[in-house]
């Protein structure tokens, strides 16, 4: 009697909570959440993203409107203050830094995400195809990547920006041209080890065509490494864009980006208007820091043997 109820209870408990399989992604999720630096970084990063979306609603000045009451004595009147509506102060010509920093942050994030997106799509397909087919196709495709890789792309990108004019589109094209190379290499290497596994053999044995094998069986197994690499690519792309903006070859006025703001701020800091450097710098460093930590956390979570 007693034993019966106990068995009953166990059976009931089992019926209520069926054993869940722990997938790779669920495991990775647990590991990621346990990594405090990565988790905090993720929340800070989300905070920055939310700020760039919500922030403009609180702005009292647009990115190009000049506050004439400040012009000429930016040091004594253009400092950060709530009363004047310049929460981050003004820049050298009296434009509101709050709005400009928000736009700069948006541009930086966009560049990073577009660069990573192109890398994920083009790089994954390119690398998987090269790795899967192997042989002459592989060495031809990867030789092409090698050649592109050893060209000092920064100069080509600057050349592109000068010749075709400076614009958002050109910037994104330039970033996209470069970003996928590393991804293609990583993915190819991973594909080489994957394609000799039993499940690929099984798929081929059942008559799956090469492209089906690549997209149904190989690419899903690459996702872990692709996600990690893409996350680490974002700060690289942001650095690239900021570098170009710092040289004054990025987006055109009145549009701005964090690199351009840092460049302006570093030129004017000798007059004492230090906030023009500090605010963009803080946002810039925060974004890079958090992306690095999130990427690191993802790598630890998705690739446990690396720890």
């Amino acid at each position: 009697m007693l034993a019966d109820t106990r068995i009953d209870g166990v059976a009931k408990a089992e019926a209520i909570t069926p054993t869940k399989g722990r997938s790779l992604w669920r495991d990775a999720g647990y590991r990621f959440v346990r990594n405090r630096a990565a988790l905090v970084s993720l929340f800070v990063l989300l905070g920055v993203v939310v700020f760039t979306i919500v922030g403009p609603f609180f702005a009292r000045w647009s990115i190009e409107k000049i506050d004439w009451s400040v012009v000429g004595n930016v040091l004594s009147k253009g400092y950060p203050s709530v009363e004047t509506g310049h929460f981050f102060g003004t820049d050298e010509v009296g434009r509101d830094l709050y709005s400009r920093v928000i736009q700069g942050t948006q541009v930086s994030l966009m560049v990073g995400i577009i660069g990573a997106g192109i890398a994920v799509i083009v790089g994954t397909i390119y690398g998987a195809v090269a790795g899967y087919f192997g042989g002459r196709i592989d060495s031809l495709m990867m030789r092409f990547v090698d050649i592109l890789y050893s060209i000092p792309y920064m100069f080509i990108l600057i050349l592109l920006l000068i010749i075709f004019g400076r614009s958002f589109v050109m910037l994104f094209v330039g970033v996209g041209l470069i970003s996928w190379l590393g991804m293609a290499r990583v993915v190819r290497g991973q594909t080489l080890t994957l394609k000799n596994r039993e499940f690929v053999e099984a798929a081929i044995a059942t008559g799956a065509k090469p492209l089906t094998v690549i997209f149904r069986h190989i690419v899903p197994n690459l996702l872990g490494i692709v996600v990690v690499y893409a996350t680490l690519l974002v700060p690289e792309m942001i650095l690239l864009e900021s570098f170009i903006s710092f040289l004054g070859l990025g987006v055109q006025e009145p549009n701005t980006s964090l690199g351009a703001l840092i460049s302006e701020g570093s030129r004017t800091m000798q007059y004492g208007t230090i906030w023009q450097l500090i605010f963009p710098l803080v946002f810039f460093v925060t974004i890079l820091f958090t992306f690095f930590f999130v990427g690191d956390g993802l790598r630890d979570a998705l690739d446990p043997k690396d720890r």
Binding site: I151, P152, I156, L160, I162, F243
Partner: protein
């Protein structure tokens, strides 16, 4: 060995040719011509100018002549902007400056980075290790164009120890800040790479054997562990070189050191296409050569690579 070098050259030379051809075609695609000023120049005069610069010939012939002059006579042609100077003059003026602080930065980054990495690995979890790891993380988010203003802010504006710009014939006080700004992030990366590979080597079996037979710690580290631990560092030297070449643009721009980067940005803003082209090709060739040397060095150090 010779065969290995020849195989590498078989990639390097086409890469260089691709670089020259692509840059040349980009230049030809640029709208307008370099001599279209505000004044209306009579057609006869324009024809004469075009003939002098060889622009009246078909483009394929111009390209062939350009490649021939660059490869066999090391002649980058006349500047389009400064009538009395050739591109070679402009390069000859800027190159020694860039080479001076670039070489210092390269040596400094390698020496200090490797030493820091070794110390951190040998004394793992000591204050030296935490210091090295902390510096590494910090330097990842402080690229040279952020480092430069910060250094000037501290050492020029606050402490007034060092000049914040100029070259002054290469006086030591003018060289220090550019070298630090250029080398910091690479130094940190080299330290990180050295540390992790050193840790891996130190935990391997043959190191335990060496310790077990009673060798002094110094001998184990420097004679047994260092060489394999440096392999990843050597393969990173190529990217370091590329980074320093592109970084010189920032250094020249920010510190007004008058190096080749300054010539590049100036010619970029002046649309002096022949100078941009010349500098791109020269720096591209240097990059490709540096990668080649790194490859050979790597193969020479690593006994696993069969030459």
């Amino acid at each position: 060995m010779i065969q290995f070098i020849l195989r590498r050259l078989a990639v390097a030379i086409p890469t260089l040719l691709v670089l020259i051809v692509v840059s040349f075609m980009l230049m030809k695609m640029a709208p307008g011509n370099p001599f279209a000023g505000e004044k209306n120049v009579p057609q006869a005069v324009l024809d004469n100018i075009f003939a002098r610069y060889g622009l009246d010939k078909p483009e394929w012939q111009q390209l062939l002549e350009y490649v021939y002059n660059v490869v066999f006579r090391f002649d980058f042609g006349p500047s389009f902007q400064y009538r009395d100077r050739t591109v070679n003059d402009i390069i000859a003026q800027g190159f020694p400056v860039t080479f001076t602080y670039g070489a210092w930065a390269f040596v400094l980054a390698a020496l200090i980075g490797v030493s820091l990495g070794i110390v951190a690995a040998v004394r793992q979890n000591s204050w030296a290790d935490y210091f090295a790891v902390g510096v590494t993380i910090g330097a990842q988010v402080v690229p040279n164009f952020v480092m430069a203003p910060l250094l000037v802010l501290v050492f020029t504006l606050w402490l007034r120890w060092l000049p914040g710009g100029g070259w002054n014939g290469g006086h030591w006080s003018n060289v220090i800040l550019p070298v630090i700004a250029l080398s910091t992030s690479y130094m940190a990366n080299i330290a990180r790479i050295t540390r992790s590979s050193m840790l891996e080597v130190l935990s391997s079996n043959y190191i335990r054997t060496a310790r077990a037979k009673g060798l002094p710690s110094r001998q184990v580290i420097f004679e047994h562990a260092l060489r394999p631990a440096l392999l990843p560092v050597v393969s990173y030297l190529g990217p370091v070189f590329v980074g320093m070449v592109t970084g010189s643009v920032v250094i020249d721009l920010y510190f007004s050191t008058g190096g080749i980067g300054q010539a590049f940005v100036n010619s970029a803003l002046n649309r002096d296409y022949s100078t941009i082209l010349g500098i791109t090709v020269l720096l591209g060739a240097l990059t490709i050569a540096a990668n080649l040397i790194v490859d050979i060095l790597y193969a020479w150090i690593d006994p696993k690579i069969q030459l």
